[in-house]
């Protein structure tokens, strides 16, 4: 039986059901069910977050100035971006302006996270969806060297170098420690790279792993420590004293120079390794055009990286802001985070209760009241679900909507909006990439487009790190060393009740924290995280979410090896730790694919 959703996707549930649980490679919190037709093409998709956590559970009644430290612990990966969003929400509620240096330092930290996260995502979470490690073991190092030298002047590219890495890899695999390469679908016909491209990519997997030891030092300098850097409502907790010496205490010239040299290395690694690899890999998958989903229809970005402090106008945000709906790239809608009619969360397909589930609630009025019930067509028991009933409640993720529209968020959304605005910083690299690959603009609306946008954004972020570092140093040299505004630190200066919203563009998309402060304490705290947008279930109007839309019409090479599903879902860099979390008793039991 076939139906067309409100947002225009045709669903057919007649075919057999395939269950993949979990989907994420590192932390498994996402379950996906699809119906396949007789040709193994996906005709219906259901994505579900398998466990609920709410921020209000830990934050109500606490000091708003400490909220960042708690939110930093929600997620194992995007710690700093939650902290930044949290301090911005509190500053918004209390009307606190931050110094220019604090704005530059926050931007450098956020951009560092962006570049680092994209790099790790590409090599360590996503590349193995495209790169066959076992094939790399049989590659000719000379051919690998020739390939590497033809695409980049990165110095580590001799035949001997690739031979050494290959031998190391062989010894590792022969010792039976597959480690990160366990559970791969090696040898699947869905892998298209020749052996030398596989060896080049696996070699750079190791180089990227090695490189991350440098990039995190930036968080140590400005955030005092890493992991879990320090943040501050009103600015940044680092003092600046350019005349100081030694490794302890305030930020001095020595440390500023260290950051500067790491930024140079970051730019070089991304532009000479990551981007050429991305193009090389994509060139073998040009006919794999699936996974576009909502990206050509409905995308959203809150915008981020304010050029000057305390100005959140679109003109001042270097990452674009706006919403595109109904596939109309000629119109970019402004977003009002405070308007109760714009951003709303629905729960009629989520395991929560509202008084009236036909309506959505703005996050300031958000309610988190769990209600775990399975629909009449679910198969299995409450604790052993064989198949979900997507006509009823089926996920621990709420369904956020912008003016009723399901939206995709993340690097591709940001690039589509930047492109539609005609902003050359986003349009030109996309046009160049498409020209290099000989592809039309439509090709960007795909799984590979999402992966490519992330790479382009990593390069953009690295160059912007340089911009803000130079700006910071110039401002310091001009005599401004202020990093924090503590005028409103004392709760006695606060109004009796205040509401605020803080946003960032996290690596995986639009992130917002909404806070209500009463009598100096947190009264309500709601986070709407990127994976809530992308991984959302259906809503009362029947719109499907971004993950679900992106899987439709994708053919699987082998139904019991759903590499194509992983490819597309990984392209969103899902981070369910924020939206949900599962603590299964046995990881092996949780990782399974089942065809019914």
């Amino acid at each position: 039986m076939s139906v067309v959703t409100a947002n225009g996707f045709e669903l057919d549930t007649a075919g057999r059901r395939l269950v993949v649980d979990p989907v994420t490679r590192i932390e498994g919190h996402l379950r996906c069910e699809v119906n396949l037709d007789e040709n193994n093409v996906i005709r219906n998709a259901v994505s579900t977050g398998t466990m609920w956590r709410g921020l209000e559970v830990i934050l109500r009644g606490r000091d708003p100035r400490d909220a960042w430290a708690f939110t930093e612990r929600i997620c194992g990966v995007c710690t700093g971006t939650h902290a930044l969003t949290s301090v911005r929400a509190v500053e918004d509620a209390l009307g606190i302006a931050i110094p220019e240096n604090a704005n530059s330092i926050r931007n450098i930290m956020q951009l560092t996270l962006q570049a680092h996260d994209h790099l790790v995502h590409f090599y360590h979470l996503h590349a193995l969806d495209w790169v066959d490690v076992v094939s790399a073991l049989g590659a000719d190092p000379k051919a690998t060297s020739a390939l590497a030298q033809s695409i980049s002047d990165w110095p580590k590219s001799s035949p001997g170098y690739f031979r050494d890495v290959q031998n190391r890899l062989k010894r590792f695999v022969e010792s039976g420690q597959l480690g990160p390469f366990m559970n791969g679908y090696w040898g699947s016909p869905a892998y298209k790279l020749p052996p030398e491209a596989n060896l080049m990519a696996v070699t750079h997997y190791l180089e990227a792993l090695d490189f991350q030891k440098e990039i995190v030092k930036i968080h140590t300098v400005y955030g005092g420590k890493n992991p879990h850097p320090n943040w501050l409502v009103g600015g940044m907790p680092c003092a600046i004293n350019v005349d100081g010496t030694g490794a302890v205490g305030a930020i001095n010239m020595e440390r500023l120079n260290l950051v500067s040299s790491i930024i140079d290395q970051t730019i070089e690694f991304i532009d000479k390794v990551y981007i050429p690899d991305l193009i090389a890999i994509a060139s073998f998958y040009k006919d794999w055009t699936y996974g576009g989903g909502l990206s050509s229809q409905a995308v959203m970005s809150y915008g981020d990286i304010p050029d000057h402090a305390n100005d959140l106008s679109s003109e001042n945000l270097l990452l674009p802001r706006g919403a595109i709906i109904n596939g109309n790239l000629n119109e970019i809608h402004e977003i009002d985070l405070r308007n109760p009619e714009e951003i709303q969360e629905f729960v009629d397909h989520s395991w929560f209760s509202y008084k009236d589930e036909t309506r959505g609630l703005h996050p300031w009025d958000g309610v988190t009241d769990p209600n775990f019930v399975l629909g009449p067509n679910a198969v299995g028991t409450r604790t052993r679900i064989e198949a979900l009933d997507e006509q009823a409640k089926y996920s621990w993720i709420k369904a956020p909507r912008w003016r009723g529209h399901a939206m995709e968020v993340g690097p591709l959304a940001r690039y589509v909006i930047g492109y539609a605005q005609g902003n050359p910083e986003f349009k030109e690299p996309v046009d160049k990439l498409l020209t290099d690959l000989g592809l039309p603009l439509e090709a960007i609306f795909s799984t590979l487009g999402r992966t490519a946008a992330r790479g382009l954004e990593a390069s953009w972020a690295a160059h912007k790190m340089r911009y803000f570092q130079d700006k910071l140093v110039a401002n310091i040299k001009a005599g401004d060393t202020a990093t924090a505004n503590v005028d409103n630190w004392d709760p006695k200066t606060w109004p009796k009740e205040a509401r605020g919203v803080g946003t960032t563009e996290a690596p995986r998309g639009a992130l917002g924290h909404w806070i209500v402060i009463k009598d100096g304490k947190i009264d309500n705290y709601q986070a709407v995280v990127p994976t809530t947008w992308n991984g959302s279930p259906r809503d009362p109007a029947g719109n499907i979410g971004a993950f679900e839309a992106s899987l439709l019409n994708t053919p699987l090479a082998k139904a019991d090896e759903p590499l194509e599903i992983l490819r597309t879902l990984h392209s969103f860099d899902p981070c369910l730790a924020c939206a949900t979390h599962i603590m299964g008793p046995d990881g092996e039991e949780l990782t399974r694919v089942k065809v019914r």
Partner: protein, 226 residues
């Protein structure tokens, strides 16, 4: 003086893993926090609150000659039991049966360090079987909290062979930038927890049902979530 062959001044990392927002999951982090508070350690010993950082910890692990890990482990033991695993047994145990609650994460960290050819020469895992995990925003249960001091004693005994002399700390001067921010301090964390009436604490019963020692929830005959 060390009788081991790794020199007189090995780089020693004491790593606490886990999420302090999930009740006994916070054991590892709370253990390094307490160790820093109570003991003066020589400068070649670093304490690190690793949180749930996974792959981002590779760099710290690969530069350590000696690695001591505190973590909550699921070893099928009675809740609150302490478990000591040393050297090569650690990855083998991890592979055979899920042992660390961050198995995927931390087993990968070890594997990645090995792949880079920089695996710690000496490795000790001090684990505690949790009493309660599914209590978001909750703190350590008394049986697990009571294991912090013995776990630290076990670590210090192990480290003595590398020439580490720890002195009890009497002042409150402890400062280590690699530990949790003071707003997450155990006492403040426990005292500031919202009441259950205003902040629901219930989790997913499919998971609750499959946790060891849970009897208050309906238990599926198959006993496992899939």
């Amino acid at each position: 003086m060390s009788d081991r062959a790794i020199g007189n001044n090995p780089a020693i990392l004491i790593l606490g893993i886990g999420n302090l927002l999930w009740a006994d999951e916070g054991f590892g982090v709370r253990a390094v926090e307490a160790m820093q508070r109570d003991w003066h350690l020589p400068p070649n010993v670093q304490l690190l609150d690793g949180g749930t950082q996974g792959i981002y910890l590779v760099d710290r692990v690969r530069t350590a000659d000696v690695l001591v890990v505190f973590d909550a482990v699921d070893y099928g033991l009675p809740p609150g039991t302490m478990k000591r695993v040393e050297g090569d047994e650690v990855p083998r145990f991890l592979g055979a049966k899920k042992m660390s609650l961050h198995q995927t994460g931390f087993q990968e960290v070890l594997a990645l360090a090995a792949m880079l050819g920089e695996y710690p020469e000496y490795l000790l895992l001090i684990g505690v079987q949790p009493v309660e995990l599914d209590d978001f925003g909750g703190s350590l249960r008394p049986q697990v909290k009571a294991r912090i001091a013995p776990a630290i004693a076990m670590a210090l005994e192990y480290l003595a062979q590398f020439g580490v002399v720890a002195l009890p700390r009497s002042d409150s001067s402890a400062e280590n930038h690699d530990l949790p921010h003071p707003s997450l301090d155990l006492d403040a964390y426990e005292a500031g927890r919202p009441a259950p009436e205003i902040a629901c604490r219930i989790g997913d019963e499919r998971v609750l049902a499959s946790l060891p020692g849970r009897t208050s929830q309906p238990r599926d005959p198959h006993g496992e979530y899939q």
